[in-house]
């Protein structure tokens, strides 16, 4: 069981001026996942969407499963553009 964010190995970019960053990804079906401070439930296909409000100096997204065998699955870079 793991969580994968919809992004490449270079991570995600975050347009300057945007308050909200929408992140999507894939995890276990009907599970609770997190991305940084945001928590979401995955649907029947394991898909999820979260809205983040990163701080200006945030450089990473951390994603994982919050239920069951809890662990961090992925860390991806976050760049402001």
């Amino acid at each position: 069981m793991s969580v994968t964010l919809d992004c490449g190995p270079d991570g995600l970019t975050w347009p300057t001026g945007d308050d909200v960053l929408v992140v999507t990804g894939l995890g276990p079906r009907r599970a609770t996942v997190f991305v940084n401070d945001a928590v979401a439930e995955t649907d029947g296909d394991g898909r999820f969407t979260v809205e983040l409000r990163p701080e200006p100096d945030d450089q990473w997204l951390v994603a994982g499963i919050l239920t069951g065998c809890a662990c961090v699955s992925q860390r991806v870079p976050l760049r402001q553009i």
Partner: protein, 706 residues
Amino acid sequence: MGFGDEGSGPSTGLHSLNPPDQPDRSPGPRWHDKLSDMRLLLCRIGGLLLALSAASARLVPEDGLPLGSRQPVVLLHGWNADASVWQALARAAAEHPTFARRCRLYRFAYDWRRPVRANAEQLSDELAAQAELAGRPVVLVGHSMGGLVAREWAESGAGALDRIAAVYTVGTPHHGTPAANLGWLTHSSKYSGWLSIVPTGLAELLYRVDIFRALRSEGGRDLGWDNYDGLMPPDVWLGEGRWLAEANRRFARHPDRDEWLRRYRLLAAYLPTVGELGLWKLGGQLRGGRELEAGAALLAHGLRAADGAALAAYTVSDGIVPLDSALWLAPGTPLTLSSVDSPAQARSPRPGLATLIARGLDHSALITEASVVRRLLDQVAAEDANLLALDLGGKTGLWRAGWKTPRQVAEGTPLAGSARQLAIAAADGLRLVRPGESRLVAPGAGQWWVDARLTVAAAEEGLLLGLDQPRLVRQVGRLNDVVWALDGQRLAARRDGRVVLVETEGGRAEVYGTGYPVAWRGDGAALLTADRPGCQAVWIAAGQRVLARPSEAAYAVVGEARDVVVEPLAATDLAATGSHVAWLPSAMSGELRLRALGGDAARTVALPLEADALAALPDGRLAVLGHDGEGSRLLSVDPRDGRTSVVAATRWRVRGPLTVSPDGRYVVAVWPDNELWVAATDGGDSVWLPGRSPQWLPLPGQRAFE
């Protein structure tokens, strides 16, 4: 031996005295009551021993569940008993909040008439026969003679020590008991010396009583006063009469002969007459309704009445075993009644041993009385106190008192841990390891730090991750080094030459710049940057929650400040107790500087060596590591009066920083990089261990056994 040569009765002796399937729930064993009836006793001559002759040793688990990761705990009964004496403890264990989950009881039944050594060998065989116990360290709990069996096995070599996680002895006659010598005293009056003090007629009568006869077995011989360690080595057995002659011969030239004679004359003077044998109902209520004090019984009662506190060392007893014998005190150790009245004064006789003195209980009640049993179970269930995690070169090892070497438990290097799980930096990332389980918490081969409570992990790139509820807690920017404050909520880190303080709960970060190289202490109690004269010193004493920048005479307060120390400009090491701050003003310092919290002036304590490291002990003392021409010494310094004493020494030159165990009993120093010197702060034996990065694992809610 000729056991049972006088007895021809039915084999009911054991069952009628101590039925295995009908546990005696009274404070004292039933045979004590029975002893008041002389007729009944005389009818049972030999019957008891005959009944027991068929008994064979065995090791039986208490429940039918798999052992799993639980700690095996072996119970060893005492003399003239069987495994049923543990019924009360077994019931309490089943109801204990944590014991049943963490431990599994095994009852070891053995023939107490055989020598202690033979039963220890039997124990070894029984343990080897249990497949699920293969290679597993066991906890031994011995009542009375059972404690000697546990000791004998521990001391027998053959790898036994590596199998032992802990040994608890309850009312064990480590130096024997005069009560056991009654068997010998009553054998005959024809031998010279101390035996002649027994009235002949009384001796002949008692000779016929089976309980005294049982004391003349090999097992009973091992319980004799100071036989086990002193007068008569356990392996000397020449047959009943010949053994006695040999005992007399050795006694005649024993260096403590005069003291022995004094004891036995007193013993004889207070031997009961036949009509008073009811007094052998040990402990509890004397005839006439008088209560015995401090577990005192016949001997204590008589001798205290006669000679008062001066005799307390060997007359204060639980009715069978004198207190100094049960505490395993070295012969001649002063022990007075006042130390029983104030148990805290009765210092544990062996380093690393916790002591419980239960007042007002007799010998057998020590394993049936609810409060004592509960504390014993608490202690056994919390046996991982003073657990030391070590880096064994890319592998994590654990060590605790009593083990000769650390045991490797996982691949990777230890970061932090509680008594129940470890956080380990493994090749694939951060792992939480507990017995039988290793869980990858977060991937990543970079450097990790974990707080002492295992609630937050920090990654090299500046991520703070929650461990109990894994999610991103905070991003703080790339970190070079991290030390956690004791409360587990503040992070002290180094980033680009500056000190960063982060509140992990609120996410607030404060940065304090020094611009100087930072030397870290790894114990979380203090940070120090003054590594050369003239350098600024920045330190954080978590207990005081103070951050000070002395050279600027300015400080920042984090949390509730009780005091701010601005003096240690050139300290090479620093420690804070609850009442004092202490520091070494230079490398190889011959003095220690002290300042009371709230006080104005610092004072100087001259040291008898060149010191280079210090640490605060939980009891308010300071441990100071230093060197003289003979090697390294560990000093204990009382900051209140400046008194110093050497508590440990080695001919090798070890160095700091000192790492103190949670209960303060041990201090670890390093030699040179891959060997550790674990010194006992109470004057006990020191241990050398392989490994690096010693880290005592905290045990939440750890309770003292005093």
